[in-house]
C-alpha cells in the first residue's frame, strides 16, 4: 500500500462523491464549451461576413426573380466579372458558402478586389461551388452573383441591376453585445460550477482530515501530501474535462441550427460552419477553474470560504454590493455592466450564508422554546457549513428566475407586438413591374372592403439622417404606410404627441422606432432632419414605437410625404379582406396589374414562423439555466445529505431522549426546509434585480430595444416548491439514517464536541 493508494482510498470508500465531482466537471465543461463553441463560431461569422462582403456589389434581376446558372452564363458572355456565391446549410451545422475560384480569377486582376476568401475551400466556411450545388439540391438555396467593383450599371445587359451585396444590415456592436451576453451567462455557469466543485472537494478534504493528521504523525511531509492532492485533482480534471469538451461540441452542433436561426433572426447574420473555437481554450479554462476551485487554499491559505469572515470583511462585502448596485444603474458600457453584476453576485453570495446564520443565531437567542433554539442553532451551523452549495443554488435560482422572467416578458411582449404588426390577414407583394397606385385605387373602390375589410399600402426603402460635424450620416429604414387606419392605430407606442396617427395620416410628422430613438437620442416633439431621395426634410417626431427583434433604426411615415425620386426598395399591400375572399382580392389585383402570379403570404403563418425563430433565440439560455439549476440542486442535495450524515448522531440523540422517530424526522424536515427555503428567499431579490438588469440595462445595450419590467410570482412559487422539494429530499434521506441503530457518532471532530 503506497502513500498515494492510502490517500486515494477515500474515493474507494466514497465512490459517489467521486462520481459527483466528476459529473459536475463534465457537465460544466459541456455547458461552457457548448456556449464557447457557438459564440466563437458566431463571432468568426460576423468577422467573416464583414471582411468577405464589405463594399461588394451583386447583380439581381429587375423582375425580382431568382438567378440561375443560365443568368451567370449570360453575364459572363457579356464580359462581366461575376462570381457565383451559393450559401447552403452544412450537414455538420452552420452555413457554408460555395464559390468558384476560376470564375473569381478576374477579381484578383491588378487594381481589382481580392477574392473574398483566404484561398482555402475547406468548408470553413467556403467550399467549391459544385459541392454547395450538391447540397443545394436537397435543401434549395438562392444563388447570388458578385460583381467586381469596376463595373457599373451601364455594363449590365437589360433586365439586370446592381445592388450592394450584404448578408445583413450593419448591426454595429449589437451582434458582439449579444454574444457577450452569452459569454456572461457562460461565466456565471463557470462560477456556479467552481462553487459546487469546491464544496464537494472540500467535503472530501474534511473527511480526510484525520487521514492527513495520521500521515503527518507518520512523518509524511505536508508538501508531499499536497503534491499528491494536486496530482489527484489534475488527473481528475483531465479525465473529466476532455469528454466534457467533446460533449460540449456535440451540444453546440445540436443547438447550432437553432442558434443560427436566432442569429439570423436577430441580426440577419448567418452562422457559418467550421468557425468554432479550438479544444485548447475550453481545456485550459476548465482545468484552471477546477484547479483554482479545489486548490485555492494552497494558493491562499487564509481563504476560509464564504462564511468565515470577520465583521470588517462583512463591511467590505457590503461596500462591494452597494458599489455594484450603483454601477449597474449608471454605467452604459456592457462590460462594466457585467462587472457590476459580478460584484453584486459575489457580494450577495458572501452575505447570504452569513445572513441566514446570523438570523438563525439571533432567533435562537430569543427563543424561549428550547427545541426551537436548538433548531435555529443547527440552522446556523448548516448555513455556514453548506455555504458554498447554498450560494451556488442561490445563484442558479436567481439566474433561472431572471431568465424565465426575461423570456416570458419577451414572449408576451413580442407576441403582442407581432400581432399588432401583422394585424392584417394577408400580405401581398407588389410586383416590380406593377403600378401600386392602380391597386390602391382598385382597393379603395371595393364596397365590401370599405364596409368589412381593412387594407393599407406599405413602402419600404432607406433614408439618411444627416450627422453633425463630428459624426457621419446614419442610414435608417423607411416604413411608409397609408392609408393610416385600424390596422396600425392599435399599435402600442412608448411615447407620443397628441393624436399621433391623425398627424401621421396628414403627413405632419414621422414616428421613430425605439432603436433609432435610443441611438440618435430622439424625443417626441423634437424635429428630425431626414434625407429622402435627393430632398431634405425636417419632420416633427410624433411618437416612439417598439420594434423588437432587429437592430436597424426606422422611421414610420405617410407615403404622401415621400418625394418622387425616393428609391422604393420593396412594396406590399396588407389586406384583411372582410366579406371578400382573398381570391377575390388577388384576382382583382392580377387584373389591374395584368400579371399572372402574385406572392400572397398568410400573416398567421409568418407570425408562427417568427415566434418559432424567437423561441430558438432563448433555447440555449434556457437550456443552460435549467441544467445549472439541476446541477446546483443535486449538489446541495448531496452536500446536504453528506453533511447531515455527520450530524445524524445528534438527531438520533433526540430519539434516544424519547422523541418518536416521526417527531425527530419532523424536526429534520423543518430544519432542511428552513435552510433551502431561506436560500430561495434570498435568491428572490437577487433574481428580481437581475431581471431588471437584463430587461432595462443589458437588453437595450445588447439588442437595441428594451422590454417592460415584469415580475412573475408564479416563478417565485415554482422556486419555492423546488426548494421545498430539495429540503424534503434531504430530510427523507436523513430520516432513513435515523432508523439505523448506529451507536457511535460519525462526525470527524466529535472529540471536540461536534461542530456548532
Amino acid at each position: 500500500m503506497t502513500l498515494s493508494a492510502a490517500l486515494f482510498s477515500h474515493y474507494r470508500r466514497h465512490p459517489l462523491q467521486l462520481l459527483a465531482l466528476a459529473a459536475m466537471i463534465v457537465l460544466a465543461t459541456m455547458l461552457w464549451t457548448g456556449v464557447h463553441h457557438l459564440t466563437s463560431q458566431a463571432r468568426a461569422s460576423l468577422d467573416q461576413s464583414e471582411s468577405a462582403v464589405a463594399e461588394r456589389q451583386q447583380v439581381v434581376r429587375r423582375d425580382g426573380n431568382p438567378l440561375t446558372v443560365d443568368h451567370f452564363v449570360e453575364l459572363r458572355r457579356a464580359g462581366l466579372c461575376v462570381m457565383p456565391w451559393l450559401e447552403v446549410s452544412s450537414p455538420e451545422g452552420g452555413r457554408v458558402v460555395g464559390v468558384d475560384p476560376l470564375a473569381a480569377g478576374c477579381f484578383q486582376a491588378p487594381g481589382g478586389q481580392e477574392a473574398p476568401w483566404g484561398g482555402e475551400l475547406d468548408g470553413r466556411p467556403f467550399v467549391d461551388i459544385s459541392e454547395a450545388a450538391e447540397l443545394a439540391r436537397d435543401q434549395g438555396s438562392e444563388l447570388s452573383l458578385l460583381v467586381s467593383e469596376d463595373h457599373t450599371s451601364g455594363d449590365l445587359p437589360s433586365g439586370y441591376q446592381l445592388v450592394p451585396f450584404s448578408v445583413g444590415p450593419d448591426t454595429g456592436e449589437l451582434g458582439d453585445s449579444f454574444l457577450l451576453n452569452l459569454d456572461a451567462l457562460g461565466v456565471l455557469v463557470l462560477l456556479i460550477t467552481a462553487l459546487l466543485v469546491r464544496s464537494v472537494y472540500l467535503l472530501g478534504l474534511a473527511q480526510r482530515r484525520d487521514s492527513f493528521a495520521l500521515l503527518h504523525r507518520f512523518g509524511v511531509p505536508q508538501g508531499r501530501v499536497n503534491r499528491l492532492l494536486f496530482v489527484e485533482i489534475l488527473l481528475l480534471a483531465l479525465v473529466c474535462v476532455v469528454p466534457g469538451i467533446w460533449l460540449g461540441r456535440w451540444l453546440a452542433t445540436g443547438l447550432g441550427s437553432g442558434f443560427g436561426q436566432a442569429l439570423e433572426g436577430l441580426f440577419d447574420q448567418p452562422l457559418y460552419a467550421g468557425q468554432g473555437g479550438s479544444w485548447l481554450v475550453p481545456l485550459v479554462t476548465m482545468m484552471a477553474v477546477v484547479l483554482v476551485a479545489c486548490l485555492a487554499d494552497f494558493l491562499r491559505p487564509l481563504a476560509r470560504g464564504f462564511a468565515g469572515g470577520n465583521r470588517r470583511s462583512g463591511g467590505l462585502v457590503l461596500l462591494v454590493l452597494l458599489t455594484g448596485l450603483a454601477l449597474s444603474v449608471w454605467v452604459t458600457d456592457l462590460l462594466w455592466l457585467f462587472i457590476a453584476v459580478a460584484m453584486v453576485f459575489v457580494a450577495a453570495g458572501m452575505l447570504a450564508p452569513r445572513l441566514i446564520a446570523w438570523l438563525a443565531d439571533w432567533r435562537a437567542g430569543h427563543d424561549r422554546d428550547l427545541q426551537a433554539r436548538w433548531r435555529h442553532r443547527e440552522l446556523s451551523v448548516l448555513a455556514r457549513r453548506l455555504a458554498l452549495p447554498l450560494v451556488a443554488l442561490q445563484f442558479a435560482m436567481a439566474m433561472v428566475l431572471a431568465v424565465q422572467a426575461l423570456v416570458t416578458t419577451f414572449e408576451s411582449t413580442f407576441d403582442r407586438w407581432l400581432a399588432q404588426r401583422l394585424e392584417a390577414d394577408y400580405y401581398i407583394e407588389v410586383p416590380e413591374t406593377a403600378d401600386p397606385t392602380l391597386a390602391v385605387d382598385w382597393l379603395a373602390e371595393q364596397p365590401e372592403l370599405a364596409v368589412s375589410g381593412l387594407w393599407h399600402r406599405v413602402i419600404r426603402g432607406r433614408a439618411t439622417l444627416p450627422g453633425g460635424e463630428d459624426e457621419g450620416d446614419a442610414r435608417v429604414d423607411v416604413f411608409a404606410i397609408g392609408p393610416v387606419g385600424p390596422l396600425v392605430t392599435g399599435w402600442q407606442l412608448f411615447e407620443s404627441a397628441p393624436q399621433p396617427w391623425q398627424s401621421l395620416q396628414q403627413g405632419q410628422g414621422v414616428m421613430v422606432n425605439e432603436q433609432l430613438a435610443r441611438r440618435q437620442d430622439v424625443e417626441v416633439g423634437q424635429s428630425l432632419k431626414v434625407t429622402l431621395g435627393s430632398q431634405s426634410f425636417e419632420f416633427l417626431v410624433l411618437a416612439i414605437y417598439p420594434d423588437y427583434g432587429r437592430p436597424a433604426g426606422e422611421i414610420l411615415i405617410h407615403p404622401s410625404v415621400l418625394p418622387a425620386d425616393f428609391a422604393t426598395g420593396f412594396q406590399s399591400l396588407s389586406v384583411s379582406p372582410g366579406d371578400l375572399s382573398i381570391e377575390d382580392v388577388t384576382n382583382g389585383l392580377r387584373r389591374v396589374w395584368q400579371v399572372e402570379e402574385l406572392t400572397v403570404r398568410d400573416n398567421r403563418a409568418i407570425e408562427e414562423l417568427a415566434s418559432a425563430i424567437f423561441d430558438q433565440t432563448f433555447l440555449l439560455t434556457r437550456a443552460m439555466t435549467t441544467l445549472t439549476l439541476i446541477l446546483a440542486a443535486i449538489a446541495l442535495l448531496m452536500m446536504g445529505w453528506v453533511f447531515f450524515s455527520t450530524r445524524a448522531w445528534y438527531f438520533r440523540l433526540l430519539v434516544v431522549w424519547g422523541l418518536s422517530r416521526r417527531l425527530a424526522s419532523a424536526q429534520l424536515v423543518r430544519l432542511s426546509v428552513s435552510l433551502t427555503g431561506a436560500i430561495a428567499l434570498l435568491a428572490l431579490p437577487l433574481g428580481v434585480w437581475l431581471t431588471w438588469v437584463l430587461v432595462h440595462r443589458i437588453n437595450p445595450i445588447a439588442f437595441g430595444w428594451s422590454l417592460p419590467m415584469a415580475v412573475y410570482p408564479r416563478f417565485w412559487l415554482e422556486l419555492g416548491v423546488l426548494s421545498l422539494l430539495i429540503g424534503l429530499s434531504i430530510a427523507l434521506l436523513m430520516s432513513r439514517q435515523l432508523k439505523s441503530p448506529s451507536v457511535a457518532p460519525v462526525n470527524a471532530n466529535v472529540m471536540a464536541g461536534g461542530e456548532r
Binding site: 435562537a364 428550547l370 427545541q371 433554539r373 436548538w374 442553532r377 443547527e378 446556523s380 451551523v381 448522531w649 445528534y650 440523540l653 430519539v655 434516544v656 431522549w657 424519547g658 422523541l659 418518536s660 422517530r661 441503530p741 451507536v743 457518532p745 462526525n747 471532530n749 466529535v750 472529540m751 471536540a752 464536541g753 461536534g754 461542530e755 456548532r756
Partner: protein, 227 residues
C-alpha cells in the same frame, strides 16, 4: 417481578455477517430493583451496547421479554411496532436516562441549554438545571458550548442532563471510556453518588473490573457460555 424496576427474560439477538448469522445475545435474563446497580462487562463485540439498546428500546431483540417501569415489551406480542416505539419513547423521554461514551450533548446548544432541553423533554422544570451543573462542578461553564470544554466536563454535563430529568433508570454505555483515569473516577463517583441519593437503577457497561465491582450486580457477557 411486576414490582421490579427492570427485568428481561430469554433475550436473543443475532446479527448477520455476510451470510453467516452471528449470535450476540442468547437466552439472556436479568433483573434490577430500584436503587440497584448492574455492571455489564465483556470484550468488545460481546453485546454490551446491544443489550443496553434493547433495554431502552433503541433496538429490538429477536426474541424475549423486557419489563421496565411497569411496561412490558414482548416480541411475541401482536402489538403494532409503532405503538411499542411510542411507549419506549415515553419511557426514554421521562424515566430512562442514557449516557454514551461521548457526544451526549447537542453541539449547537450551550451546556446549560442542553440540560434545560433534556429536562423540558422529560416534562421537568428547568429551574434546577443550573444547580445540577453547579453540583457537578461545572456551573461556571454553563454558557460554554460543548466544543469549548474538556471531555470530562462534557461527560459531567451529560450526567447533569440525566439527573435533571429525574430518571428512574440510568443506562450508561462506557461513560468514562474516553476520559483519563482521574477525570473518569471523578465522573463515576458523582454518578454513583447521585444514583444512590436518588434511588434510581443503574446499568453500566464497562471494561473496567474495578468499576464493575462497585455495582451491586455484575453480568459478564464474555463468560456467558452461549456467547
Amino acid at each position: 417481578m411486576v414490582d421490579s424496576l427492570l427485568s428481561a427474560r430469554g433475550l436473543n439477538k443475532q446479527f448477520q455477517s455476510g451470510d453467516e448469522p452471528v449470535p450476540v445475545l442468547v437466552d439472556l435474563s436479568l433483573h434490577l430493583e430500584a436503587g440497584e446497580s448492574l455492571a455489564l462487562t465483556g470484550r468488545s463485540g460481546s453485546g454490551k451496547s446491544t443489550l443496553l439498546n434493547i433495554l431502552c428500546g433503541l433496538e429490538k431483540p429477536d426474541a424475549g421479554v423486557v419489563q421496565v417501569l411497569g411496561e412490558t415489551f414482548d416480541t411475541r406480542s401482536t402489538e403494532a411496532g409503532s405503538k411499542a416505539d411510542a411507549r419506549w419513547g415515553d419511557l426514554r423521554r421521562q424515566q430512562i436516562g442514557v449516557v454514551f461514551q461521548e457526544a451526549n450533548l447537542m453541539p449547537a446548544l450551550s451546556l446549560l441549554d442542553n440540560v434545560r432541553f433534556r429536562a423540558r423533554l422529560a416534562g421537568q422544570s428547568e429551574d434546577g438545571c443550573q444547580d445540577w451543573l453547579e453540583r457537578l462542578g461545572i456551573g461556571e461553564l454553563a454558557d460554554r458550548f460543548p466544543d469549548q470544554v474538556s471531555g470530562g466536563q462534557r461527560q459531567r454535563a451529560a450526567l447533569a442532563m440525566v439527573f435533571a430529568m429525574k430518571p428512574a433508570l440510568i443506562l450508561a454505555d462506557e461513560p468514562t471510556g474516553s476520559l483519563d483515569r482521574h477525570t473518569a473516577e471523578a465522573v463515576i463517583g458523582q454518578l454513583f453518588e447521585l444514583q444512590t441519593r436518588h434511588g434510581c437503577g443503574l446499568i453500566l457497561a464497562t471494561h473496567d473490573p474495578e468499576l464493575a465491582s462497585r455495582c451491586s450486580q455484575h453480568l459478564d457477557l464474555a463468560h456467558l457460555p452461549e456467547t
